[in-house]
């Protein structure tokens, strides 16, 4: 069974080419079923960064390439890559671990691989390949910190808030300004359990609109200082020309923390607020520096994740190689079982005696064949499968059973 991969990704093709073969879930399922129609296997992985067809069969690679050409034209076919067996498996393992993503270790791809697998038309080989790839993806994330650091300004703000408060569940968030960027940061906080309680905005209509989306209260900017007294986090992103918040707006909190995320340019919060006890102010530059540092950290962790993924891919290769000796092992066991049953049928035994002898002879056969079975699988992993399989077939007279 030959495993092949034909695909196109952000590494080789620009978005205007990729978008021609970007398939939604239904279309991807259709393509997978179509390519697997004649007893083959196929899984179609299509995301914004890649469209890849994993196929099994001798002529499957050609069919997959023609399918891509039919979907996107000659340019897609020209920019596509083709990988086989171990290289294809290793590629999928790297994809699942996020090592082939724009942001190393990004978490979304693992779910996309799972969805593609579940919607595809896998058989024995692709079932094992995708299950192992999902396992490798999880393992790489669990054993390294590749996925832990934030990759965007909004997630960096939320991660820093967690450095102050730990669990954000129930933390009170105030949004100042009703722009998209501020809302995105607030969403990142809300996704971690924080509760947006108030939205202060000069335009009442827009403020109410954003407040309704978060189930919060819209308040006038003049009431901001009152609301800050009970807040834990404040996100500001207005187009005001000067500071909206100064040290005088933050009352004595006896060390109770207040985390401020100022995403506005020009800034909304006076930097002197950062000097107050328990107040932590991060502006857009600070957050971008945190993101840059965490991305370089992700790249370092990616090296460790590569080793984990390579080891998992090697295990898959060994399993795939062991498939070559499976028919021989099955024949050997069938031959042994046939001999055992034939000899047993000659014996004149009572039911109880037969049961005992059945059990004993089965155990003898299993024990005798255990080591040869293990050795043949090991040999298959070491690429000696054909030699061993031929030797066993010759020694035990299994040639006729092919």
């Amino acid at each position: 069974m030959k495993l092949s991969l034909v695909g196109i990704s952000h590494r080789h093709a620009p978005v205007e080419v990729r978008e021609r073969v970007a398939l939604d879930a239904k279309a991807a399922t259709g393509v997978a079923r179509e390519l697997a129609e004649h007893g083959g296997e196929c899984v179609c992985l299509s995301t914004c960064n890649r469209t890849e067809l994993y196929v099994v069969g001798n002529d499957a690679e050609h069919a997959a390439l023609e399918k891509l050409r039919a979907l996107g034209g000659d340019e897609v076919a020209a920019l596509s890559y083709r990988l086989a067996d171990h290289a294809a498996a290793l590629h999928l393992f790297r994809v699942a671990a996020g090592l082939d993503s724009l942001v190393p270790g990004e978490g979304e791809i693992l779910g996309q691989v799972r969805v593609a697998y579940e919607a595809g038309a896998p058989g024995p080989l692709l079932n094992r390949l995708f299950r192992d790839a999902l396992h490798a993806g999880k393992k790489a994330r669990a054993q390294t910190t590749i996925a832990e650091s934030p990759a965007s300004v909004s997630s960096a703000g939320a991660a820093l808030a967690q450095q102050v408060f730990g669990d954000l569940t129930g933390r009170r968030v105030v949004i100042v300004g009703a722009g998209k960027v501020g809302e995105l940061a607030a969403r990142s906080l809300a996704a971690r359990g924080a509760q947006v309680v108030a939205v202060a905005n000069r335009s009442e209509v827009r403020g109410h609109d954003v407040a309704r989306r978060f189930g919060a209260q819209a308040i006038p900017v003049e009431r901001l200082a009152d609301e800050l007294a009970s807040a834990d986090v404040a996100v500001t992103c207005t187009s005001a020309p000067g500071f909206l918040l100064g040290p005088e707006d933050v009352r004595d909190r006896k060390g109770r923390p207040l985390f401020l995320i100022d995403l506005a340019v020009p800034r909304d919060v006076d930097p002197a607020v950062n000097d107050l006890d328990g107040c932590y102010l991060y502006d857009i530059d600070d957050l971008e520096a945190v993101v840059a540092a965490s991305l370089s950290g992700r790249r370092r962790e990616a090296e460790r994740a590569e080793a984990i993924v390579a080891a998992e891919a090697e295990r898959f290769r060994a399993w795939q190689a062991s498939l070559e000796v499976v028919p021989t092992i099955a024949s050997l066991r069938a031959r042994a079982e046939a001999i055992r049953a034939a000899e047993l049928s000659k014996a004149k035994l009572s039911d109880a005696e037969r049961e005992t002898v059945e059990s004993i002879t089965s155990q003898i056969v299993n024990k005798l064949l255990h080591l040869p079975t293990v050795r043949m699988k090991e040999a298959a992993a070491a690429a000696d499968a054909v030699i061993y399989a031929d030797a066993v077939r010759h020694l035990f007279g299994l040639e006729d059973e092919r």
Partner: protein, 262 residues
């Protein structure tokens, strides 16, 4: 022969201290090695303490160095309650070097030897020394938590771009744990002091300078708890207060040989 248990314990604590330092450079494997170092060191030291207890005539840690040995064990025990969690590895960097140094000092003072003798009653020593040392171990851990708090707070205030690279507990977690550790340790110190004062009353002795400083320590930690729980203080102020009170604990420990063990 059992005295040799000192060496694996020391090696494991030392390895943990070095590995915790390595964790700050490359988080991951060094942190796991450090955690195992502390665990194995604790097991070896526990075995050493059991051997000391089995071979002693009376309470085996009644000397200054002996009490230091027991103090180290109590400190590591308290640390292990949270220290095995990945986020608390930074606390290990504060605790394990101190543990290693104090363990060596205990050894140099003869506190890890077998067959120790004591002329005090076991019940009095177990209660007085045990409770006071437990409280001091708790205060030391609280000081470690306060130090990590101040370190992390400083990084947050200075907008250290690499702050998310090194896993550390949240500020409020550190602050809350320091408060709870002191809240548990102060009653232990109170009981230990009461036991000592009862014995002093029975034997007709007088107050010495060490007792006065211990009393001041009690007031310092009492103030900490009052300000924290009655007046709502938290954060940097309470961290500094915990460190100031810990300075008195150091004074008491250093003054012990000149007073109680003189």
């Amino acid at each position: 022969m059992a005295e040799l248990l000192f060496w694996p314990a020391l090696f494991a604590y030392g390895e943990a201290a070095v590995a915790y330092f390595g964790e700050t450079r490359a988080p991951g494997l060094p942190g796991r090695l450090a955690t195992w170092g502390v665990r194995l060191g604790w097991l070896a030291q526990t075995a050493l303490l059991i051997a000391q207890a089995a071979r002693a005539d009376g309470f085996p840690w009644s000397t200054w160095a002996g009490s230091l040995n027991l103090f180290v064990w109590l400190l590591v025990t308290a640390y292990l309650i949270w220290g095995c969690r990945a986020r608390f590895r930074l606390l290990g960097l504060a605790v394990t070097p101190l543990v290693t140094v104090l363990f060596v000092v205990a050894r140099l003072g003869g506190g890890t030897e077998l067959g120790m003798r004591s002329h005090y009653s076991n019940v009095f020593l177990v209660l007085h020394v045990g409770l006071v040392l437990t409280a001091f171990a708790g205060f030391t851990l609280a000081a470690g938590l306060a130090s990590v708090y101040l370190f992390q707070e400083r990084r947050l205030k200075r907008h250290d771009a690499a702050i998310l690279r090194l896993p550390a507990p949240a500020l409020q977690t550190l602050d809350g744990l320091a408060g709870r550790t002191i809240a548990v340790s102060l009653p232990a110190l109170t009981l230990g002091m009461v036991v000592g004062l009862v014995r002093l009353e029975e034997n007709g002795g007088g107050l010495d300078a060490l007792m006065a400083v211990t009393l001041a320590t009690w007031f310092a930690y009492g103030s900490y708890l009052a300000l924290r729980y009655a007046y709502g203080w938290q954060g940097r102020r309470t961290a500094y207060l915990a460190l100031a009170a810990f300075a008195l604990v150091i004074v008491v420990r250093l003054a012990l040989p000149a007073t109680h063990f003189a």
